[in-house]
Symmetry: C2
Subunit: 338 residues, 2 copies
DNA sequence: CCGTGTAACGCAAACGTTTGCGTTGGGGGT
DNA sequence: ACCCCCAACGCAAACGTTTGCGTTACACGG
């Protein structure tokens, strides 16, 4: 309701002094600063964001693009944890988050209209043609998680390390004697899937095993599809003796399928799940898990974007957030060695 | 990059004419309007939101408060569908959505700083003390879904109709001969739970049945807790012959529990699920369902808020969005009549 | 006592847009 | 021919803040 000029009059100073005092800049004595701060408190003063943005050219808002504002993205534990990480950093750095849900216009328009200082794209199955204009216009922008190819036209991207942990998990199963190891994947073009399938293939090859495509079915990342695909695997003439699941939802669906057939874990079937959340933390038996630190990924992405905004240049290197493979009780010796 | 003045010079008109032309107001001839529009296109002109907001006092943004920016809210099908409805309306009406995730400051501060034109509170387990200042300051605000009590201090709220559909479902089960009917609830203080439990109690009473508290356990709304609570119910000395579940997640957990015990639906146990999403649409057998039109709830809330913003007064009456009870194959005659 | 540096503060422009009011010109009614 | 009205357009203030620059006053060293 009140503005800077009003405070200035009551404090018998100029409005520039009020601005400096309230923004914590130097050039104002402690006594006057205290008086101004108290006055602002009493008058219930709030700075007008629009006026501030108009002159300072910064609005303190980052745009969050969730390409599919659909059931899937909001519902997915993976994405909701990324959002948690983003929220934490953004709040800490004093920014706000604007959801960019109006996809009819280009993403860049939100920057050009000065509604946001930078853009954070969440989701790796994004239409490249809507992404490229961001880098071409020099708009501070980060894509998380990762990106499919490393074209120079793509913005900076942040991802977890996906190769090592998967390699370890597959090696672990092989060392337990398993030869028929399945891996339920997600969408074919997801970088998330690609890195892991390569690790899987490498581990097989390094141990002298053959890669068989029928053991690496795709899914749509959902619980229902995890259930369906797991059923297909178990119906194979040579059903796998061990299975890895790519994400939380697939894991839940697959475990449901296994439970519905009364197969014992790990006596009859070994299971390794990939977890972003801790929804499966209390499963019986405790699950051997590839834990993906998704919250950290979100934090790293937000940090990188804010650094781009504030320094005007891209960070040197984005650290890959390491995943960790932990052996628990859901993986055991192969029941029927060949 | 370019501004209104630049366009004005090139078009040999004043900047007020440019403003009127671009905003579709009358008072500018067709010829000049066309020239200005083309010029704006060529110059890649975007209006500066800050400057516009500064003078017009409207920013075209609504603040979205999700009290728990936690795993729960983002993950829940219920809330994600509300967000879908909100998104649709907000986009259609030309607004943007800002996530209010900085809970350290009061919600009202976002309005006073003119970052938002109104505030939409999503979630009914909200701290009242953070809500009240909204109405007291006359800030356009809507709470969805519903609110616990009808204190005049509370803002406008939007909810689905919850009583009738639940009454019908319970009556349906009673008419099938069931006498031991369980109802897995959510948090005790959720309005969502309260209305439904009253309908449940009324239906029992109207049919001369006794209400037994051990059949109406609380849960935390999650899949895991649905699983746990369903297990407790089935372990009762007098286990129920029919069960209702309050939301999607509880339903999934409860169905998992039933499946893990190999109980046949509906021969051994009748089930009625409450659905906001269609995650359970293809379940076998097809489920008797209380369908809650959550997307519509979100739409109604957003519409009401925008009306408050634009007219300055609260809408007369918010329609209750009706839920519908549909009988399918998961409810059958009571297996062991008493 | 003088010169110099510095902290504290005021002045006023600038940011880009909207909008009330004033002016102009031309057309239509009497 | 006169008056009046309205459409089309310009002028300039206003929105609230930030900030570069100028001014003042005071301390301090020489």
């Amino acid at each position: 309701m009140s503005n800077i000029l009003e405070i200035a009059k009551l404090a018998h100073v100029s409005c520039s002094t009020v601005s400096r005092a309230l923004n914590g800049r130097k050039g104002v004595s402690d006594a006057i600063r205290a008086k101004i701060v108290k006055l602002a408190q009493d008058l219930d003063y709030y700075p007008d964001s629009s006026a501030r943005a108009l002159v300072s050219k910064r609005v303190g808002v980052i745009g969050l693009i969730i390409p599919r504002t659909s059931e899937y993205t909001f519902t997915s534990p993976y994405y909701s944890h990324i959002l948690l990480g983003i929220s934490a950093v953004v709040t800490e750095r004093g920014y706000q988050v604007m959801l960019v849900i109006n996809e009819r216009k280009s993403y860049a328009a939100f920057y050009h209209r000065r509604m946001v200082d930078g853009i954070l794209v969440v989701g790796n199955h994004v239409d490249d043609k809507k992404i490229w204009p961001l880098t071409e216009s020099g708009i501070p922008s980060v894509v998380v998680p990762g990106f499919i190819d490393d074209s120079p036209r793509n913005p900076l991207s942040v991802n977890s390390e996906n190769y090592d942990s998967n390699y370890q998990a597959v090696s672990h199963l092989i060392e337990l004697g398993h030869r028929r190891i399945a891996f339920i994947l997600g969408y074919p073009n997801s970088k998330y899937s690609v890195e892991r399938i390569i690790a899987y293939q490498d581990a097989l090859r390094d141990h002298g095993l053959e890669y068989r495509v029928e053991y690496t079915p795709y899914s749509d990342f959902s619980v229902a599809d995890g259930f369906r695909v797991m059923g297909n695997l178990l119906d194979l003439p040579k059903a796998p003796t061990a299975v890895l699941c790519l994400n939380d939802s697939i894991s839940i669906g697959a475990l449901d399928q296994i439970k519905s057939r009364n197969l014992r874990i790990p006596e009859e079937l070994s299971v390794v799940v990939t977890c972003a959340s801790d929804m499966l933390a209390h499963y019986d038996p405790p699950l051997s898990t590839i834990k993906v630190p998704v919250v950290s990924v979100g934090k790293a992405a937000a940090s990188a974007l804010i650094e781009m905004i504030e320094t005007g240049s891209a960070p040197r290197e984005i650290p890959k957030i390491p995943s960790t493979f932990t052996i628990r009780k859901s993986t055991g010796p192969c029941p029927r060695p060949e």
